[in-house]
Amino acid sequence: MIVAADPLFDGSFGLPELGIVLLKVVIAFAFLLFAVMFNIWFLRKVISDMQNRIGPNLAGPWGILVTLADGIKLFFKEDLVPEKSHRFVFKLAPYLSLIPAFLVFAIVPIGGDFNRADGTAGEVSIFGHDTFLQVADPPVGVLFFLAMSSLAIYGVMLAGWGSGSKYPLLGSVRASAQMVSYEAALGLSIAAVVLVSGTLSMHELVVLQSGQGFNAVVPGWNIFATGFVPFVVFLIAGTAELNHPPFDLVEAEQELVGGFHTEYSSIRFALFFLAEFMNQITMAAIIVTLFLGGPSGPAFFFPAGWWIGLFWFFFKLMLFLFGFVWLRATLPRFRYDQLMDLGWKLLIPLSLMWFLVLAGIQVGRELGWGSVEQTIFVLGFGLVSLVCVALLFLALRSARLRRLADLDQELTEGSVPWRS
C-alpha cells in the first residue's frame, strides 16, 4: 500500500519479505554511519592537501580512524545542559535534525542494472525475491525528500531557541530564514525535473533516465533533459540548504561563536555533526538521482550486472562529495544580505522562468511542434521576459524618483505624513 512499485510487495507479505526489508534498513543505516566516518576523514584529508598540510595521519593507516577516535572522545566528554535552557526541547533538537537526515537516504536507489529493457530495470534478486536496491520507493518520493528537508529546519531552530542563550538564537533564526528561502528555489528546480519526467517516484526517475539517451552518446539524464539551469539552481540551493560553505552563516564562528550548537557538548554535539555530514551525503545522492541518472550509467558503458549500478552511483556520489570539500576549501562566506539577494532575486525568478520555458516546450511536444515552432517559442519567450525585466527596472526607477519627490516635500513642508 505504502510501497507500491517494489516487486517485493507484489505477493503476500510474510516473514521473508519482512526480513529483506529489515536487512535493507540495517544496511542503509550502517552504510550512512560508515559514510559519515569516511566523509569527515575525506574532508580533512582533502582540505589539508589543498592547503599543503599533512592532515590527520596518526590513527590507523592514513589517519583513517581519526573520526572514530573523535567520536569516542565526544562520547566520554561531559554532557552539559545549560541552566537557562528549556530542557526537553534542548534534548529533543539533535534527534530532530538527525532523523530526517537518515530518512531521506531511504528513498534513494543505490544500485541495480537499469539498462535492461524488459520492464524489470533496477530489480535484483535477494534470496529468491525480486526487489529494488532501495529501502522504500514511495509514490511521492521526491516530495518526501522535500518534506524531510523542511523538517530538518526544526532541529536547528529548536536547538537555538532551547539553549536559552543569545548567540544560538541568532544563529537559529538565521538558519531557518536561510533554509526556508532556499527551499523555494530547491522545490522549483525539482518541479522542472518532475515536469520533464512526469513521475514523483525515485525509482521511475532513474528508469526514465537510463537507456540509450540522446543518439546513444549523451546519456538521457535529467541534467540534459532539463537544460542545465535547474541542475545549477539545485546545486546552489542544496548547498545553502545544507548550511555548507560558502553559505555557512549559521555557524559563522567569527560572529556567532558556534551558531545554533554553541551550548551543545558531548554526544548531542556529535549528533548535530553526524546529521550535518549525513545531510551532505544524502543531498549528493539526491542530486545524483534527480539529475545524473543515479545508478544508471552512460549508455556506451553497459556491462550487465547489478554491481555496475552500485559502481556508477558511488562514483557520482564521490564526485559531489569532493565538490563539497572543494567549495569549503575555496570560497569565503557570503554576507547575509548577499545570501538573501541570491536566493530571492536570482535563483527563484530564474528557476521559475526556466520552469515556464520547459512547460511551454512540453505543451509544444504534445501539440506536435517542429523545431521551427520551438525556436520561435523560445525566442518569443526570451523577448517577453526581456520586456518584463525592462519594465521592472523602469518601475524601480520611477519608485526612486517618487521617493525623491517625497523628500523634496519633506524639505519644503517640514514632514511627510506617511513617514514620521
Binding site: H86, F88, V140, A147, S150, W161, L401, L411
Partner: protein, 201 residues
C-alpha cells in the same frame, strides 16, 4: 485489520497532539504539539492512499506554516509560559467546558447521522466512489486546473497581492538608507534631482 491499527495509532497521535496544543502553557511547546497533530493527519492521509496530500501536508503545514509560527513566537518574545492560576474573565472556564461539550455532542451526532453522505462511501455495500484509473497526483491536478481553475488562479493572485501589500506596508526606509539611495540616483540621473535637494545634502 492493519487499517484499523494504523487508524487507531494515527488518531491517538492526532488527538493527543491537539490536546497538547491547547493544554501546554508554553507557546513553543504548543507549536511542537501542532506538528505532532499534522504528522498524525499525514499518516491518516497515507492510510487513505492520498500520498500527495500527506506529503503536501508535511511540506506546507509542518515545513512552512508552523516554522512561521515559531518565527513569530521567537521574534515577538512571547515564548514565556503563561500563568494559569488567575482566570482572566470570571466564569469563563465552566462556560467553556459547557460549550465545548455541547459542540462535541453536536459534532458526534452529525457524524453518526450523516456519515454515509460525508465520506461518499456506502457503508454497507463497501463500494468505492473513486476509480483507480489515475494516481492521486494526477486526479488532484486535473480537478485543480479544470473545474476549479478560476478559483485556483484567484487564490494565487490573492496571496501574491497579500505578500506585496505586506512588504509595502512594513517597509520603512531609514534616513541613512534613504540618503545613500539618493546619492546613487543623483549619480545615475543627475537631471532628475532638484538642485536644492542636492545642495541640502
Amino acid at each position: 485489520m492493519t487499517e484499523v491499527i494504523v487508524f487507531v495509532v494515527g488518531a491517538i497521535i492526532v488527538l493527543s497532539g491537539a490536546v497538547g496544543v491547547v493544554a501546554s502553557p508554553n507557546p513553543v511547546h504548543s507549536a511542537l504539539f501542532l506538528i505532532q497533530t499534522l504528522f498524525g493527519v499525514a499518516v491518516l492521509f497515507v492510510l487513505q492512499e492520498a500520498h500527495f496530500l500527506a506529503a503536501v501536508q508535511i511540506i506546507v503545514y509542518a515545513g512552512a506554516i508552523v516554522i512561521l509560527f515559531l518565527f513569530v513566537i521567537m521574534l515577538l518574545g512571547v515564548d514565556t509560559a503563561d500563568n494559569w492560576s488567575v482566570e482572566p474573565i470570571g466564569g469563563q472556564r465552566p462556560l467553556a467546558v459547557l460549550v465545548g461539550a455541547a459542540l462535541f455532542g453536536c459534532g458526534l451526532a452529525l457524524l453518526i447521522v450523516m456519515s454515509d453522505k460525508l465520506t461518499g462511501i456506502v457503508r454497507d455495500g463497501g463500494e468505492r466512489a473513486l476509480d483507480n484509473q489515475f494516481t492521486d497526483v494526477e486526479r488532484i491536478g486535473r480537478v485543480l486546473f479544470t473545474d476549479y481553475a478560476l478559483s485556483f488562479e484567484i487564490t494565487a493572485a490573492l496571496l501574491t497581492i497579500a505578500v506585496i501589500g505586506a512588504v509595502v506596508l512594513t517597509r520603512k526606509l531609514r534616513r541613512e538608507e534613504f540618503l545613500a539611495d539618493l546619492e546613487r540616483v543623483s549619480m545615475e540621473l543627475p537631471a532628475a534631482v532638484p538642485d536644492e535637494i542636492n545642495e541640502a545634502h
